[in-house]
C-alpha cells in the first residue's frame, strides 16, 4: 500500500532523489506506524475492524463454532424459537440458524473478496489505459464507464445474471462486471494528473516501455483512493450477493447464503420471524463494520476529502 504522500521517484527499481535508499526505507516505515496510529485513534476504525475480524473469524472457524451441520435436517427441532441449544432458533427443516449463518459468512466473504478483486482489476486497467493514452481510447472507455457508473450496481448485476444464468459463480462475475466503473474513474483521474509529473517525463526520456511506466511508476502512486474505494465496495458486494440469492438468482438452497436463509424466512415471517431476523441483522452489522472502517481509512489517507 502506498501510504506516503510524496511521490517516490523510481527509475528502473532504483530510487533517484536526494535521499539515500536507506533513509527512504526508514521514512516509509515511520509513515506506516504513524498511519496506523492515526487510523486507530478513530473510534470508527476500531469498532469497524473488530467487527471485520469477528466476521472473518466466524467464516474461518465455522465448523468449530457449532456442533450442528448446516444442511442436515432434524425432524425433532423444526421451527424452534431461539433457546439455549439453538441460540438463533431453527428453520423449517430443523436446521440451526446460527450454524447456517456462520457457514454463510464463508459465502459472503468469498463472493465479496473475489468479486471486488476482479472489479478492481478491470477498473484499474481500463482507467490506466484511458488516463495514460488519452485520445480515442480515453473517449471510448470513458463513455462506457459513464454509462456503467450511472446504473445502480444491483440492477446491472441482475442484467448480467439474466444473461449468464443463476448461481454463485455467476453472481461473482455479475458483481465484478457491474461495479468496476468507480475504480476506472478514480484511476483515470490519477493517471491524468500523475503522467504530467517530471518523474514520468524522466522515465519516458530514459526510454522505458509504456507498460513499465504504467505498472511500475504511475500505478503504485495511484492506488490509495482505489484501496479506500475497495473497502467500501466490499459491503456493497455482500449486500448484492444476499439480495440476488434472496431473489433466487444467486446461491441455491440448501447453500447457507444469508440471502437464501432470508428467502426461506420470508414465508415464515408470521410463525418464525427469527429465521429472517438474524441473517438480516448479521448483514447489517457486517456492512456497518466495513463502512466505519472504510470511512475512517478515507479520512486518514485523504484528509482533504472528508
Amino acid at each position: 500500500m502506498s501510504i506516503s504522500k510524496d511521490v517516490q521517484v523510481y527509475v528502473d527499481d532504483k530510487w533517484v532523489g536526494q535521499e539515500t535508499t536507506n533513509e527512504h526505507i526508514t521514512v516509509r516505515k515511520r509513515d506506516t506506524i504513524d498511519f496506523l496510529k492515526r487510523l486507530f485513534r478513530h473510534k470508527g476504525a476500531v469498532i469497524g475492524s473488530i467487527i471485520i475480524v469477528l466476521f472473518v473469524l466466524t467464516a474461518a472457524l465455522a465448523p468449530w463454532l457449532t456442533r450442528y451441520s448446516y444442511d442436515a435436517p432434524d425432524v425433532n427441532a423444526i421451527l424452534q424459537s431461539p433457546r439455549r441449544e439453538h441460540i438463533f432458533g431453527t428453520d423449517e427443516f430443523g436446521r440451526d440458524i446460527f450454524t447456517r449463518i456462520a457457514y454463510g459468512a464463508r459465502i459472503s466473504l468469498q463472493v465479496a473478496f473475489i468479486a471486488v478483486s476482479f472489479s478492481l482489476m478491470i477498473g484499474t486497467i481500463l482507467g490506466a489505459l484511458a488516463g495514460y493514452y488519452g485520445g480515442t481510447i480515453d473517449y471510448i472507455i470513458s463513455a462506457v464507464t459513464d454509462i456503467a457508473w450511472a446504473f445502480p450496481t444491483t440492477l446491472l448485476a441482475i442484467a448480467f445474471i439474466a444473461a449468464l444464468g443463476t448461481g454463485l459463480q455467476n453472481v461473482i462475475i455479475a458483481i465484478a462486471l457491474a461495479s468496476w466503473a468507480g475504480y476506472c474513474r478514480v484511476v483515470r483521474g490519477q493517471f491524468l494528473s500523475l503522467k504530467q509529473r517530471e518523474f514520468i517525463e524522466a522515465a519516458r526520456i530514459l526510454g522505458m516501455s509504456d507498460a513499465r511506466i504504467i505498472f511500475r511508476h504511475i500505478l503504485p502512486n495511484a492506488l490509495t483512493p482505489v484501496i479506500v474505494m475497495a473497502t467500501l465496495e466490499l459491503p456493497k458486494a455482500i449486500v448484492i450477493e444476499a439480495s440476488l440469492s434472496f431473489l433466487g438468482l444467486g446461491a441455491q438452497p440448501p447453500q447457507p447464503s444469508w440471502g437464501v436463509i432470508l428467502d426461506s424466512g420470508k414465508g415464515l415471517l408470521d410463525q418464525a420471524p427469527w429465521v429472517s431476523f438474524f441473517p438480516g441483522l448479521m448483514i447489517m452489522i457486517v456492512v456497518l463494520g466495513f463502512n466505519l472502517f472504510g470511512d475512517a481509512l478515507r479520512d486518514v489517507l485523504d484528509p482533504n476529502n472528508s
Binding site: 454509462i147 444491483t154 442484467a159 439474466a162 431473489l247 415471517l269 431476523f277 456497518l288 463502512n291
Partner: protein, 306 residues
C-alpha cells in the same frame, strides 16, 4: 437555456445507442442456443428453422441489432415467450406500481432527510447531531429488503395496520415505500447536513445574520435553499437505486410490479421480457439523470448554459 436543454438532450443520443448495444449484446452473447431457449431442447428441425426465422436469429449480429433498434423505436419490445403477448403491454401493466413505490419513497426521503440534515448541521456537535449521524450510519448499513421484512412483520402481521398482501392499493404500497424512504433518507440526510454546513460558513449567511434577521429566516430562507441544490442533482441519480431496491420489496410484499416481472422472467428464461424491462428501466434512468442536470441548471443561476 433552451439551447442548454437541447444540447443535453442531443448528448443523450450516443448514451442511449451505447446502452441498447450493451443490452442487446448481453442477450446475444449469452451462453446457450437461443432457439432452444425459446422452444426447449427437443424440437424437430422444421420447427427449429421456423423459430429461427420468426425471431430473426439466422441473421448476423449487426442485422439483428438494427432490427432490434428499429422495433424498439416503434415501441415494439418483442413478444413474451411464456405468455405469447407483447412485452410492452406487460410492462405497461406493471410499471405504474413500481413508479408509485418509488415516488412514495422519494417523498418519505425528503420528509425525513431535510429536517434531520438541517437539525444536525445547525446543532453541529451536539447530541442532536450525534443522534442523526448514528441514525444515518445504521440506515446506510441496513439492507432495504430486510427493513421491508421487519416493517411487514411489525406493522402488517403484529399490529395489523396494513394489509399483508393485496392488489396494489396505496395502503399496500406504503410499507415498501417507507422501507425505500428510510434507507434513502439516511444517505440524503448526510448530504443535506454537509451541504448545509458548507453554506452556513458562507459570507452571505454572516451578512444575513448581521442584518439582524431571525435565525429561522436565515436558515430556512437563505441557507436551506442553497444547500438543497446539490442534493437535488444527487436525488436524480438515486432513481435507479430506488428501482433496484424496489425489486426485492415487490417480492416481499407480493406486489405485481416491474421488478418482480423481471425476476420472474429471468427465472423462467423469458428473455424478450427481460430485455424489454431492461430497456425501459435504463432509458428512464438516463432520462432522470438528464432531468436532474437540467433542474440543477435552472435552480442554480451560477451554472452557465454553455
Amino acid at each position: 437555456m433552451l439551447k442548454f436543454i437541447a444540447k443535453r438532450l442531443v448528448l443523450m443520443v450516443p448514451v442511449i445507442i451505447l446502452m441498447t448495444i450493451i443490452v442487446f449484446s448481453i442477450f446475444y452473447f449469452a451462453p446457450g442456443d437461443p432457439v432452444s431457449r425459446i422452444a426447449g431442447p427437443n424440437v424437430t428441425p422444421e420447427v427449429y428453422e421456423s423459430i429461427r426465422q420468426k425471431y430473426g436469429l439466422d441473421q448476423p449480429f449487426f442485422v439483428q441489432y438494427l432490427r432490434f433498434v428499429k422495433s424498439v423505436l416503434k415501441g415494439d419490445l418483442g413478444i413474451s415467450i411464456l405468455q405469447d403477448r407483447p412485452v410492452i403491454e406487460m410492462i405497461r401493466e406493471r410499471l405504474p406500481v413500481t413508479l408509485q413505490i418509488g415516488l412514495l419513497g422519494f417523498v418519505i426521503t425528503f420528509i425525513i432527510a431535510i429536517p434531520a440534515g438541517v437539525a444536525a448541521a445547525v446543532k453541529q456537535n451536539t447530541i442532536i447531531d450525534y443522534l442523526c449521524m448514528s441514525g444515518t450510519l445504521v440506515g446506510t448499513a441496513i439492507p432495504t429488503f430486510w427493513l421491508g421484512m421487519l416493517l411487514l412483520y411489525v406493522f402488517a402481521y403484529k399490529l395489523r395496520w396494513f394489509p399483508i398482501s393485496g392488489d396494489g392499493t396505496i395502503r399496500q404500497l406504503f410499507l415498501p415505500g417507507l422501507a425505500i424512504g428510510l434507507t434513502n433518507a439516511a444517505i440524503t440526510a448526510r448530504m443535506v447536513r454537509s451541504s448545509m454546513l458548507d453554506v452556513l460558513r458562507q459570507d452571505y449567511i454572516r451578512t444575513a445574520r448581521s442584518k439582524g434577521l431571525y435565525e429561522k429566516v436565515v436558515i430556512y430562507r437563505h441557507a436551506l435553499k442553497n444547500a438543497l441544490i446539490p442534493v437535488i442533482t444527487i436525488m436524480g441519480l438515486r432513481l435507479g437505486w430506488i428501482i433496484g431496491g424496489s425489486v426485492a420489496l415487490e417480492i416481499i410484499f407480493s406486489i405485481p410490479g416491474l421488478g418482480r416481472l423481471m425476476v420472474d422472467s429471468i427465472l423462467s428464461r423469458d428473455y424478450p421480457v427481460v430485455q424489454g424491462a431492461m430497456i425501459i428501466l435504463t432509458s428512464s434512468i438516463i432520462l432522470a439523470n438528464i432531468l436532474a442536470d437540467i433542474l440543477y441548471a435552472i435552480v442554480d443561476p451560477r451554472i452557465r448554459y454553455s
